[in-house]
């Protein structure tokens, strides 16, 4: 159906609806959207405005830039966003295909698979920290038993420590994104696949010509959203490395919380404003995509 014919049909139904009911479709639309608009006005516009007001003093940014860990933190945040999120989303896309298969054990696995998302962060990440302890942790004990050599001092190396924070992040949030992409896949009409398999298309072709085109918007937007959500994720870093060794693995979220702990609300808010250059293009890009 072309755009114009949809348009005509829509106008038709609207007219008919208006004649049969007291309220126009437009009015109904407004009613349906009102609850959200109220929430948005009262709980988004006001707090966000207030956050900016708290961060209004230019002196704060001078102070922030003077913090010696600031630059490193900004770079870490960027790495975290680019690497962790892309890896996570690609794996999630792949696994969402896996979970569409109807096997009893896949169903069981799917339930187990959501558990990481359901466990609270504090015990899980502390448990992982214990696992990684180089002297008595399970991993290094195992390495020692198998190779009679010492395992690495996991969290003492900034690259390794940051990578492990990313692993923790991926472990914790992979189920969610897989689930969303799975819902996206399930929304693709089966007929398309049936038609394709009659044509003898292989799995790659099915993915390339059916799955990907219908999932692309969802996938890209999820990636953008995940990046935005992750700017505020402080658990994976805070509970695992605490920003260590020597403050080399901080991200903007952990730095912000550190200021909050010293009652430097202004600086904490300024950290957000500084984070905006990371978020802004993402939000812009996202809004643009959605407007198409």
């Amino acid at each position: 159906m072309t755009a114009t014919s949809i348009e005509t049909a829509r106008r038709d139904t609207t007219r008919r609806a208006r004649s049969s009911q007291g309220l126009s479709k437009e009015a109904w639309g407004r009613i349906f959207v009102t609850p959200y608009v109220l929430i948005f006005l009262s709980l988004v516009v006001f707090p966000v405005g207030y956050a900016f007001w708290l961060a209004r003093d230019p002196q704060l940014y001078v102070e922030l830039a003077k913090d010696p860990v600031f630059l490193r933190t900004a770079i870490n945040t960027l790495i975290f966003l680019l690497v962790a999120i892309n890896v996570k989303m690609m794996v999630a896309l792949f696994l969402s295909g896996f979970f569409t298969h109807k096997r009893w054990w896949v169903k069981v696995l799917a339930v187990l698979f959501v558990l990481p998302w359901a466990v609270p962060s504090i015990p899980t990440i502390i448990s992982m920290r214990f696992m990684l302890n180089p002297e008595w942790g399970v991993i290094n004990q195992l390495i020692f038993k198998l190779t009679t050599e010492d395992g690495p001092n996991w969290l003492n190396d900034p690259t390794l420590a940051l990578s492990l924070s990313m692993v923790v992040h991926i472990w914790k949030s992979l189920p969610f994104w897989t689930l969303i992409l799975l819902a996206g896949r399930l929304a693709i009409p089966l007929e398309l696949y049936e038609a394709a398999s009659v044509d003898g298309a292989g799995p790659w072709h099915r993915f390339r010509f059916i799955t990907w085109p219908s999932m692309r918007t969802l996938y890209v937007t999820c990636t953008l959203l995940s990046m935005i959500f992750t700017v505020g994720d402080f658990n994976s870093v805070y509970l695992l490395t605490g920003g260590g060794p020597a403050d080399l693995t901080h991200v903007l979220a952990t730095l912000g919380i550190r200021y909050l702990r010293l009652d430097q609300v202004g600086l904490a808010m300024a950290t957000i404003v500084v984070a905006l250059p990371f978020v802004l293009p993402l939000v812009f890009f996202m809004m643009k995509r959605l407007s198409r």
Partner: protein, 284 residues
């Protein structure tokens, strides 16, 4: 022909296993390590063993019977978590599905604008909005009530929920609405009788999302809730971080137990997940 089909089946099955086993290990190893703490006697888990020499269920008993200082309100706090996250999920679903319906099906004017503004919520990461949000709740005189946390969680969950639901509902055939409207159904009936049933898989995904968002929320929960009796469990688990020498095995046990209700809820609803759209499409 038959052998080829068999061969293809075998390779498909083994391919699935080849994915399934690593997924299983990846998911379970950290959980197993937590579980190891949960079934180990005090301090025994720190020896780096793969299975405790004297496994015990004592930790579960202590948690279930609330016999530790940090866990005196375990069941109450579990209930608080359940109530707050269920309320968040339900309200989010109502608000978001209504908004998505208005934007996607009723094609109301300014729908796109609403969508864009909604996504603006994520302009500032939630973790940073905590202090302003507290201020806002104080102004509305809601600080300390569970409603404040529910509303905050709905605020954070809704934009994403609306967006996902809009995505899914854009894929529904337009003819469905038209048929219903010609039959004389009001948009409200259309929403309730046609739209909602067709959206089930996405509603489950989004509902689980909202539920778990509130279930594991830490920062907002400790800022917005006030007395020990109204706290959710993740905040109470923060007590274990309050000194340098905590009963870690109880922390792990409680954390492990805490993961089960949402998994059960998800399991209960999961079977609807694959049914929704495909079944609806056949009917339509």
């Amino acid at each position: 022909m038959n052998t080829r089909k068999l061969l293809r089946n075998v390779s498909l099955e083994s391919g699935l296993l080849l994915i399934g086993i690593p997924v299983f290990l990846w998911t379970m190893i950290p959980l197993y390590h937590m579980f190891l703490f949960a079934i180990s006697p005090k301090d025994a888990a720190f020896s780096g063993q793969l299975w405790p020499t004297n496994p015990t269920l004592r930790n579960f008993e202590i948690v279930f019977q609330q016999k530790h200082h940090f866990l005196y309100n375990f069941w109450l706090q579990m209930w608080n978590s359940l109530w707050i996250s269920s309320a968040t999920a339900v309200i989010t679903l109502m608000v978001a599905s209504a908004a998505a319906f208005a934007i996607s099906r009723l094609r109301m004017k300014g729908g796109r604008l609403v969508m864009n503004f909604a996504l603006f919520t994520y302009f500032i990461p939630a973790a940073f909005l905590a202090v302003p949000m507290y201020k806002t709740m104080t102004i509305y005189r809601l600080q300390g009530s569970d409603l404040s946390l529910i509303l905050a969680m709905v605020t954070i969950a809704s934009p994403y929920a609306i967006w996902i639901l809009r995505q899914a509902s854009d894929k529904l055939p337009v003819e469905l609405d038209e048929a219903a409207l010609i039959d004389g159904a009001s948009p409200f009936q259309l929403f309730r009788l046609v739209y909602i049933p067709l959206m089930v898989p996405s509603l489950i995904a989004v509902g689980t999302y909202a539920l778990l968002l509130a279930w594991n929320e830490y920062l907002y929960a400790f800022l917005l809730l006030q007395s020990e009796k109204t706290l959710t469990l993740p905040v109470a688990l923060g007590n274990f971080l309050s000194a340098d020498d905590s009963p870690w095995e109880l922390l792990m046990t409680a954390g492990f137990i805490y993961a089960l209700p949402p998994a059960a809820i998800y399991y209960a609803f999961r079977r609807y997940m694959s049914s929704g759209l495909t079944a609806g499409a056949v009917k339509g």
